[in-house]
C-alpha cells in the first residue's frame, strides 16, 4: 500500500483479517492471473464460454433425464418422495450395466442424489440466483458501454483488460466495502428494510420465468400474473425508501413512482389480456409452446390488434420498470437520483440489481407473450431426426433453446438502453396524459378488436394474409435497421464528418 505524504496525521490503512484476508488474496490472485489471458484472447474465451455453458446445461439436463428414466423403469413404480427413498444405488447400477454404460461403478453414486427433490430444488435455486446476479452485472456494464458509444466515447475500458469486462465486479467490490450510511433524521428501520422490499420481489419473479419448455423452476398455472404481481410489488420498496429517507427529493421521487406505477399497470395488464385470450391459459410454458411454428406464428403477428398490443406493452413496461423516458422517480438531473439519493454501498446496489432484473423480466414477458418465447424464427417442423448427438445438439441450438430466449431478452434490454440515452425525459403531466388518454384507450380498442377478430376472422384466409403481411413488414423493418446500423458501423467516421476524431482518447 502506498502511503501518500500529507501534512496531517494519518492512520494506517485497515488490514483484512481472518477469512476476509484469504478471500481478498484469492480474488486478487484470480484477477492478476486472468487479466493477461482475457485481454489476449477475448474472442475465443467468449465463444468457449457460450459452448461451455451450452454443454453444462445439456449435461445437467441429460443427468436429470437419466434419473427420471431409471425411476420410471423401476419395478415399484413409486413416485419420488422429498427425501427420495425409491431408488438404491444397486438399482441404478443395474440399469446402467444393462445399457452397457461405462464407469457405472462411480456413476451410480453420482446419480443417486439427483433423485432427491430437495437437491433438485437447491440446484434450481442456485441457477436462478446466479442468473439473477449475472444479468444485472452485465446489463450495467453494457449500459455504460452503449451510453459511451452513443456519446462518442469508449465507456469502461480498463478493469479486466478486454473492454473493461470486469468493471461491474470491481464496482460491486467497491460498493460492498463502502460504509452503510443511515441519515440521522431518517426512519432507520424502514430505511434499512426498503432495499430488500425492492430486491426480493424481482428475484421471486425469476422463479416462474421459463427459459425453455423444460427450463423453468416452477411451472405454475398462474405464472403470468405472479410475475406481474412481483413487478408491481417491487414498487413498495421504492416508495418506502423515498419516504424513509426524509428528504424532499426522495419523497418527490417516491410519489412520482407511486402515481406512475399505479396508472401504467392498467394499460399494461389490459394489453396482456390479448395474448392470454389467444393462448387461453396463464401458464407461461404453454403460451411459449404454442408459438412453435416459426416467425409467422408468433403472437405479435397474429392480427393487427396483437401487434398494437405488443408495442403498447413495451411502452408501458418502460414506465413500469422506470426506464427513460419515464425515469421520473430517479431523474438524476432534477431530483438528484430521486428515491435513492440517501443510499450508499450495498443497499444502493440492491436497488440497481432490482431495477436491472426488472428490465430483464419485462423484456422476458414481451418475448414470451408476443415474440415466440424460446423458439427461433425457424419452424420446429424442420427439425432433424434425432439419431446422433450432433443432430440433437443442432436441434437444441437451432430450434429452441434458453440461449435464444436470453438473446431475445437482451435485444429488448438493448432497446431500453438505446431509448434511455437518446430520448429526453418527459414531464409528469405528460406521463399521466399519455397513460390515461393515449395508452389506455388504445389498449381497450385493441382488446375489443382482438375479441371480435377471434370470433369472426380467426382461422380464415384474411387472418393468414394479415399475419403474413405483418410478419414480412416487421422482418423488413428489422433487416433495414440492421443494414443501416451495419453501414453506420462500417462508415462511422465518414458519416460524422469533420467532428470525428480518428483516435478516441483511451482507445
Amino acid at each position: 500500500m502506498t502511503q501518500f505524504s500529507v501534512p496531517w496525521k494519518q492512520s494506517p490503512p485497515l488490514e483484512y483479517r481472518g477469512p476476509a484476508r484469504g478471500i481478498v488474496a484469492l480474488a486478487r490472485m484470480v484477477y492478476t492471473m486472468a487479466t493477461p489471458i482475457v485481454s489476449r484472447f477475448p474472442g475465443p474465451i467468449l465463444l468457449g464460454a457460450i459452448v461451455g455453458g451450452t454443454l453444462l446445461v445439456w449435461a445437467h439436463w441429460m443427468l436429470f433425464g437419466w434419473v427420471e428414466t431409471i425411476a420410471a423403469s423401476d419395478v415399484n413404480g413409486a413416485a419420488q418422495s422429498v427425501w427420495g427413498q425409491t431408488l438404491t444405488t444397486a438399482e441404478i447400477g443395474a440399469y446402467l450395466d444393462s445399457h452397457s454404460i461405462v464407469a457405472s461403478g462411480i456413476l451410480k453414486y453420482l446419480l443417486w442424489p439427483l433423485q432427491l427433490e430437495l437437491l433438485r430444488d437447491l440446484v434450481g435455486l442456485g441457477a436462478i440466483f446466479g442468473l439473477f446476479n449475472l444479468i444485472p452485472v452485465y446489463a450495467i456494464w453494457w449500459e455504460r458501454k452503449v451510453a459511451g458509444r452513443i456519446q462518442s466515447r469508449m465507456g469502461p475500458m480498463r478493469v479486466g483488460g478486454w473492454h473493461g469486462w470486469a468493471q461491474s465486479f470491481a464496482d460491486g467490490v467497491k460498493l460492498v466495502g463502502k460504509e452503510d450510511l443511515v441519515p440521522e433524521q431518517a426512519d432507520a428501520m424502514l430505511f434499512r428494510v426498503a432495499p430488500y422490499l425492492a430486491f426480493v420481489p424481482s428475484l421471486l419473479a425469476f422463479l416462474c420465468l421459463p427459459l425453455g419448455s423444460y427450463w423453468v423452476f416452477r411451472n405454475v398455472d398462474v405464472a403470468l400474473i405472479f410475475i406481474i404481481a412481483m413487478v408491481g410489488v417491487e414498487v413498495v420498496g421504492v416508495i418506502v425508501a423515498g419516504w424513509a429517507s426524509n428528504n424532499k427529493w426522495s419523497v418527490y421521487g417516491a410519489m412520482r413512482e407511486a402515481c406512475q406505477m399505479v396508472s401504467y399497470e392498467i394499460p399494461m395488464t389490459t394489453v396482456l389480456l390479448i395474448p392470454i385470450m389467444t393462448a387461453g391459459t396463464l401458464n407461461m410454458v404453454q403460451i411459449g409452446d404454442m408459438q412453435t411454428g416459426g416467425w409467422f406464428s408468433w403472437n405479435a403477428f397474429h392480427n393487427p390488434f396483437t401487434f398494437i398490443a405488443f408495442i403498447t406493452y413495451y411502452i408501458a413496461s418502460l414506465a413500469n420498470c422506470k426506464r427513460a423516458p419515464f425515469d421520473l422517480p430517479e431523474s438524476e438531473s432534477e431530483l438528484v437520483a430521486g428515491f435513492h439519493t440517501e443510499y450508499s454501498g450495498f443497499r444502493w446496489a440492491l436497488f440497481f440489481f432490482a431495477e436491472y432484473a426488472a428490465m430483464f423480466v419485462v423484456s422476458a414477458l414481451a418475448v414470451t407473450l408476443f415474440l415466440g418465447a424460446w423458439h427461433t424464427p425457424i419452424p420446429a417442423t424442420w427439425a432433424f431426426e434425432e439419431d446422433s448427438i450432433v443432430k440433437i445438439f443442432l436441434n437444441g441450438v437451432l430450434f429452441s433453446s434458453p440461449f435464444w430466449f436470453i438473446f431475445k431478452c437482451f435485444i429488448f434490454i438493448y432497446i431500453q438502453l438505446w431509448i434511455r440515452w437518446t430520448l429526453p425525459r418527459i414531464r409528469i403531466d405528460q406521463v399521466l396524459y399519455s397513460c390515461v388518454q393515449v395508452m389506455f384507450p388504445i389498449a381497450c380498442v385493441a382488446l375489443v378488436g382482438h375479441a371480435v377478430w377471434m370470433v369472426l376472422l380467426d382461422g380464415t384466409v384474411v387472418s393468414d394474409i394479415i399475419r403474413w403481411i405483418l410478419g414480412l413488414l416487421t422482418a423488413a423493418v428489422t433487416f433495414g435497421f440492421l443494414s443501416v446500423a451495419a453501414f453506420g458501423y462500417r462508415n462511422g467516421r465518414q458519416m460524422v464528418g469533420y467532428l470525428a476524431v480518428k483516435q478516441l482518447p483511451g482507445a
Binding site: 418422495s81 433524521q185 426512519d187 424502514l190 405454475v220 398455472d221 400474473i225 410489488v233 413498495v236 391459459t281
Partner: protein, 210 residues
C-alpha cells in the same frame, strides 16, 4: 342533480351486494375452485416441510399483525401490513390456492397498499405521521374486538375440521375458475362489477373540481 346522483350511488351499492349474494348458486361447495396446478404434487410425506412453512407463515402473520396494533407511525404500519398480506398469500400458496394467493399479492400488496402509503404521503402534515388513539376509541375498539374474538372462538370450537377432502385435482384451477365465473356465477360476477363501477363514478365525482 348532485343529490340524485348521490342517492343513486348509495342505493346501488347495497343492491349490487345483495344481488351478488342472492344469485350465487347454493351448491357452491361441490366445485372447489382453489385446487392444485399440474406442477405441485400433494405428497403425503412432505408433511414436515409443509408444517414448518405453515408455522413460519402463521408466525409472520401474527407478528406483523401485533406490530400494526402497537406501532404509532402510519407508514411503518403499512409496511407491517405488507408483511401480513405477503404471509397470508404464502399460506394460500401452501394450500395450493395459487390464484387467490397471486390475486392477494397483486390487489392488496401491489395496489391497495401503495395507494395507502401514497395517501399518507399526500395528506400528512408533519414528516412523521403519528397515529394517536383516544381512550374512548380504545374502549369501543376493545368491545368490538372482544365480540369478534368470542365469535371466532365459538366457530373454532364448534366447527368440524376435516383433515382430508374427497376433492379430486383435475387440471388447472384457472380453467375451472374462469368457466365458473362465466357460467354458474355470471350474475354475481356482473353485480360485483356494477359495484366497482359505482365506486369509480363516485370517486370521479368527488375528485371533480366544481
Amino acid at each position: 342533480m348532485t343529490l340524485r346522483l348521490k342517492k343513486i350511488l348509495l342505493l346501488m351499492t347495497p343492491l349490487a351486494i345483495a344481488l351478488s349474494f342472492a344469485t350465487a348458486p347454493v351448491q357452491a361447495a361441490d366445485t372447489d375452485l382453489s385446487l392444485s396446478d399440474q406442477g405441485i404434487q400433494t405428497s403425503a410425506d412432505g408433511g414436515l416441510l409443509e408444517a414448518l412453512m405453515f408455522y413460519a407463515c402463521a408466525g409472520v402473520t401474527l407478528a406483523c399483525g401485533f406490530a400494526i396494533c402497537l406501532s404509532k407511525n402510519i407508514v411503518r404500519m403499512a409496511v407491517y401490513l405488507f408483511g401480513t398480506l405477503a404471509a397470508v398469500a404464502l399460506m394460500y400458496f401452501l394450500l395450493l390456492a395459487n390464484f387467490i394467493g397471486v390475486i392477494q399479492l397483486i390487489v392488496y400488496a401491489g395496489g391497495t397498499l401503495i395507494l395507502l402509503i401514497f395517501g399518507v404521503m399526500l395528506t400528512s402534515k408533519s414528516p412523521w405521521a403519528k397515529f394517536e388513539v383516544k381512550r374512548s376509541e380504545l374502549i369501543a375498539a376493545g368491545i368490538v374486538c372482544a365480540l369478534f374474538a368470542g365469535m371466532l372462538l365459538f366457530v373454532v370450537v364448534n366447527a368440524e375440521w376435516p383433515l382430508e377432502t374427497d376433492a379430486v385435482v383435475v387440471g388447472s384451477s384457472m380453467t375451472q375458475f374462469g368457466t365458473g365465473l362465466l357460467t354458474d356465477y355470471l350474475v354475481p360476477f356482473e353485480a360485483i362489477s356494477v359495484l366497482l363501477l359505482v365506486v369509480m363514478i363516485g370517486a370521479a365525482y368527488m375528485a371533480r373540481q366544481e
